[in-house]
Structures are given as C-alpha cells and as structure tokens.
C-alpha cells in the first residue's frame, strides 16, 4: 500500500468512524465530518449544476446551436435572483409559479397512468375459489378495495365502514412490513461493506 493510499484511505476510515460516533452522542469529530461533507457537497453540487445544466442546457443550445427559445427559461431562472432585492423580490414568484405549474402539469397524467390506471388494470384478474391462483387474485382485489376505503376521507371510519377500513390498513401494513424487511437487508449490506473496508484497510496497514 502506497503512502497516498494509506493517507486517503486513512482519512476515509477516520471520517467513517467520526460519522459513526454520533451513535454515542454529538461530539467534535462528528461536527468535523458533518461540516466537511456539507461544505464539499455544496461546492460539488454547484459545479455539477454548472456542467450538467448551464453548459448543456443554456450555453451550448443558445451560443453554439442558435436555439434562442432556450433564452426564455434562462430568463425565468435569472429572475429567481431578484430575491436578493427587497424591492424586486416579488418578481421571483413568476418563475416559481411557472416551475410549479409545469411540474403539476407533467405530474398529473404520469400519476394517473402509473399510480391509478396501470395498477387498476393489473388488478383486474379472473377471481374465484376454484383454484389457488383465482383465490389469490380475489384476495388482492379485496385488499385493494379495503385499502381504498381506508383512504376515503368523506366519511368517518365507524361501524362496518370502519371495519373495512381496518382491513385496508392491515393490508397496507403487510405490504409495508415486507418493504421494511427488504430495505433493512439492503442497509445491512451497506454497513457490512463499510466494515469490510475498515477491516481490509487495517489488515493492509498492520499486516494481520
């Protein structure tokens, strides 16, 4: 292991342990790591924005390709800087309104497709009691119906309606539980990767 590798990997080990130290309590080591990562990430993000947004989406289209339509969103972006002026800060509401309006316009059909119609079509399967597959489809359809009842806000969850809603929340919780287990396993693998990194570094450094 070269000197550079020893130093950089040693720094990575130190920062990893510093972040882990918050498990004990807030301390100067955690503060150092925290401020370092925030500062570095903010600077890094500014550069990323410059190279991934400004250059390909403003500079190249307008200057090199003469696509002057791109000036319009650029002006909207520049108007955001009016926030620095107390007198003109109201102007920044226009680009914000445009941004949010476009976001909504894009989101509504996508949501309608991805979260409503596609799952609805996928749930429309033959149902019955004559085979396990048909019964499984019936369970899924019933679970979806009960979950929808849970998200019904115009009526209080009481009586039979409340009972159905309760089945709905149980259905949701079964799904959440499965998701929780899956993700935790992924997180544990990340932790193992960090431990493996530290073990390998120490093995190389001390030769055991």
């Amino acid at each position: 292991m070269g000197t550079g590798e020893i130093l950089w990997n040693g720094l990575a080990l130190f920062l990893t342990l510093s972040i882990f130290s918050i498990l004990y309590k807030d301390n100067p080591f955690y503060k150092i790591a925290e401020h370092l990562v925030v500062g570095v990430s903010a600077g890094y993000f500014a550069i990323i924005l410059y190279y991934n947004s400004f250059i390909p989406k403003v500079w190249v289209p307008v200057v090199h390709e003469s696509k002057f339509l791109y000036i319009l969103p650029t002006i909207l972006g520049v108007l955001m800087w009016t926030r620095f002026s107390r007198k003109w800060s109201w102007v920044s509401r226009y680009p914000i309104a445009a941004y949010m309006g476009i976001g909504m316009g894009v989101a509504i059909p996508v949501t309608m497709q991805a979260y409503i119609l596609v799952p609805l079509y996928a749930t429309m399967q033959p149902i019955g009691f004559t085979s396990m597959a048909l019964f499984n489809n019936l369970l899924v359809a019933a679970g979806v119906l009960c979950a929808l009842v849970y998200f019904f806000f115009s009526k209080e969850h009481t009586g039979a309606f409340g009972g159905v809603a309760k089945v709905g929340i149980w259905t949701l919780m079964v799904g959440f539980g499965a998701g929780f287990g899956l993700t935790v396993m992924g997180r544990v693998s990340l932790l193992i990767e960090r431990f493996t990194f530290m073990r390998d570094y120490l093995q190389k450094l001390f030769g055991f």
């Binding site: 918050i22 497709q113 119609l117 998701g179």
Partner: protein, 415 residues
C-alpha cells in the same frame, strides 16, 4: 422328379442372389467400397423465396421519428425449403439506389419498427416528413433474396396518443369532479373531511414545543418544488408557521433545494402575516443546506441533537434518508410527525415516528388544515374518484373472470 425340382429351385435362388448383388454393386461407388466419405453433389445455393407485400407506414402515437415496416414471410420461412434465418431491413430515400441497412430480425418476424433520433445533431437522426423506401432481404446461411421495394412512407408526429385515451378520460372525469366540488364549496355547501390523527397531533406538538421552550423542526424532504408531495407539505408548513407565530415558538426549516427554499420562505412569511406577527418572522429560519442527500441528513441530524428540537415534522418527498432522520429524532426525544407519498419510505416513518400520514393522507391533510374551497373540493373529488376506481375494479375483475376482455381492455394503456 423331386431332385430335378430341388435343382431348379437352387438355380433360381442363385440367380436371384447374383442379380441382387449386381444391383447393390451398382449403387455403391468405388470410394464407398473403400470406406472413404463422399461429399454431397455440388449444386448452386438455393436462395429462399423473397418476402412479399412490403408495406411501410408512419409509426402511430409517436413524435414523428419512426416508421413501421410490415411484410409477408418468405414461403421458405418455417416451411418449404425452410432455410430462412433472418430478415434484413434496408432503407433509402431513392427507390433505385442508396439502400442502407436499418435492422435485422430473426426468421418468423414480419414487422420492424425503424426508429431514429429526434435531434438533428444525433447520429441516428430520423427526419420527419421525408419519403423513405424499404426493401426486405430474406437471408439463409449462404444466400439471400430481396423483396420488392415498398411504396414511399414518411414519419410524422401525432397530437394525441390513442393508446393513452383512458388517461385523458380519467383525467377529464376527475377534473369534472374537482370543478364541481370546488363550486359547491364556494357556494357554501359544507364538505366534510374526517379528522386525520397525524394532523390533529400537529397542534398538540406545537403546544408541547411552546411549553418546553424548544424549537420545532420542519423538514420538507428532498423533493423539488414541482412535486405533489412537496406542494402538499408547503401548505402544511404555512399552517405550522401560523401556529408557531401565534405561540411565538421558534421554527427551523432547513431545506435541500434552492427553489423549495424560496417557496418555503414565502409560505412561512405568509403564515406569520396571517397570524398578525410579521415583525417576528426571521428570514434565516428557513435556510438552504445542500442538495446532496446524505450531506443534508448529517447536517439535519446534528441540528436535531444540538438544538434539542421538541417536535420534528417530516412532510414531503423522502428517500433513503427517512429512517436516518426519524431515528435521530427518536434518540433526541422529540415528538415526531411524518407524512410522505413515497411508498417505499412509509414503513420507516411508521416504525420510527409517533404519527404518520400515509400517502394520500398527506394531500388530504393540507386540505383539512386549510379548509379552503379549492383544497376541500379536490379532496371530495378524490373520494369520488376512488368510488369510481372501486366500481371499475369490481366490474373489471368480474369481466376478467368471464373472459370479457373488451371490458378489461378499456382500462389498458398501450404505450
């Protein structure tokens, strides 16, 4: 007599044996007699029959940079000489010359989508409104045959994607309900929205923070200002800011997106104005940290532990940071209320926070708090939308059970 008969019979058998050996000998070449393998007789390679009826048409439901080519399979594809291995698709803007290879499909395939790039600068640019001619080559292992050149076809974009009409219809129905209920709400008709436990807890949590003299931390998540979850969260932030202004409780709102920062500042400022305390609004109570996910988390976690926030409210779009934030808040002993429309993150909030708004409850919460006709109308419309979804699901499942596919296909989106 008997001996003569036996003798004649023997002569006849010998003759038959000799004749059959003679015939067998004719069919065996000298080389075979010597045990040497022999090559099959050499003949010209037999090309497969050409594909027929090549038709090129604009690809439907696209932005105008693709053409669909269809043809009838070669007579030797899967039958006849059965020697077709693949088809090559060739294209030219001149029916007589200049054909270039556009694609290759295996035998048995009778159509090809010739799709190109949209931008002129790209290598595979497909110009719209330009006539192209297609020719299909049926290929065997050593030879090929060419189809007739197709009639010209050009690509053009469509304004409406017919495969997505169900989305248009569903959006139109939902919009109708929204407008109807907003109108009712504006006319003063009382629209009931059931209490939502997580939102009722917000007032309680603000009161607790006031009693303890500690700040309230409001996290908007990592979503952009254009996302539904963030917008719903901003409405709730406005309500929380109004309450904190009334109680004079410090409010901390660290954000991770520059545009969200601007909108969040406006929302908090508006809350202070509504409470009649604009003088107490501090612009730096809403500030930007960084857009990098885990850097943001480390800063917020440090903030929770140092400021000893009494209440943490997480509302908006969250990703892998949800559990890291909620667990730290738990360690710090804060009351925590969460809400997100990110299905994968809800389990973590359910496990680690005191109250959780699940999915659509986040949107409903903003209406429930605001009590504005616009928002209440939207919630009512959503409920009616759910009723329609439930009815559709029941009808669709029954239709699928009786193989009435035309009913089920009404809900299908053809991409």
């Amino acid at each position: 007599m008997k001996n003569r008969f036996v003798f004649r019979k023997s002569i006849l058998l010998i003759f038959l044996f000799s004749f059959s050996f003679f015939l067998f000998g004719l069919s065996i070449s000298p080389a075979q007699e010597m045990g040497v393998p022999v090559a099959a007789p050499i003949s010209a390679p037999q090309p497969p029959d050409p594909p027929m009826n090549v038709v090129a048409k604009d690809a439907p439901n696209d932005n105008g940079h693709a053409i669909v080519v269809k043809w009838s399979l070669s007579a030797d594809d899967g039958k006849g000489k059965n020697n077709v291995l693949s088809y090559e698709i060739w294209r030219s803007d001149n029916p007589d010359t200049g054909f270039v290879l556009r694609g290759l499909v295996p035998a048995g395939t009778s159509q090809y989508l010739d799709r190109g790039a949209r931008e002129k600068e790209e290598e595979n640019y497909f110009p719209p409104h330009k006539n192209f001619y297609y020719q299909i080559k049926a290929k065997s292992d050593i030879s090929f045959s060419e189809s007739e050149v197709s009639a010209p076809a050009y690509a053009y974009g469509q304004w409406i994607h017919t495969g997505k009409l169900s989305i248009l219809f569903a959006t139109a129905v939902f919009t109708f309900f929204v407008l109807l209920f907003i109108n009712w709400a504006k006319k003063g008709k009382k629209l009931y929205v059931r209490p939502i436990a997580g939102i009722d807890a917000v007032d309680e949590a603000i009161g607790r923070a006031t009693e303890m003299g500690r700040p309230i931390l409001y996290i908007l998540g990592l979503g952009s200002a254009g996302e539904l979850g963030t917008i719903a969260s901003l409405t709730i932030l406005n309500r929380v800011a109004k309450k904190t202004a009334e109680y004079q409780t410090p409010l901390l709102v660290p954000v991770s997106d520059p545009v969200v920062l601007t909108v969040a500042q406006e929302a908090v400022k508006a809350g202070y104005y509504e409470a009649g305390r604009p003088d107490t609004y501090k612009e730096d109570s809403v500030w930007y940290i960084t857009s990098m996910q885990f850097a943001y988390v480390s800063a917020v976690n440090g903030l929770m532990l140092r400021e000893k926030t009494a209440t943490n409210i997480y509302m908006g779009v969250f990703y892998a940071e949800s559990l890291l934030l909620a667990e730290t808040g738990n360690v710090a002993g804060s009351i925590q209320i969460s809400g997100t429309d990110q299905v994968a993150q809800i389990p973590f909030f359910v496990a680690a926070t005191d109250y959780t708004l699940i999915g659509e409850e986040l949107y409903a919460a903003s209406a429930y708090l605001g009590k504005e006709p616009l928002l209440l109308g939207a919630i009512k419309a959503q409920d009616w939308g759910k009723i329609l979804i439930m009815i559709s699901l029941i009808i669709g499942a029954i239709a699928a059970s009786f193989h009435l596919d035309f009913i089920v296909n009404l809900f299908r989106i053809k991409l």
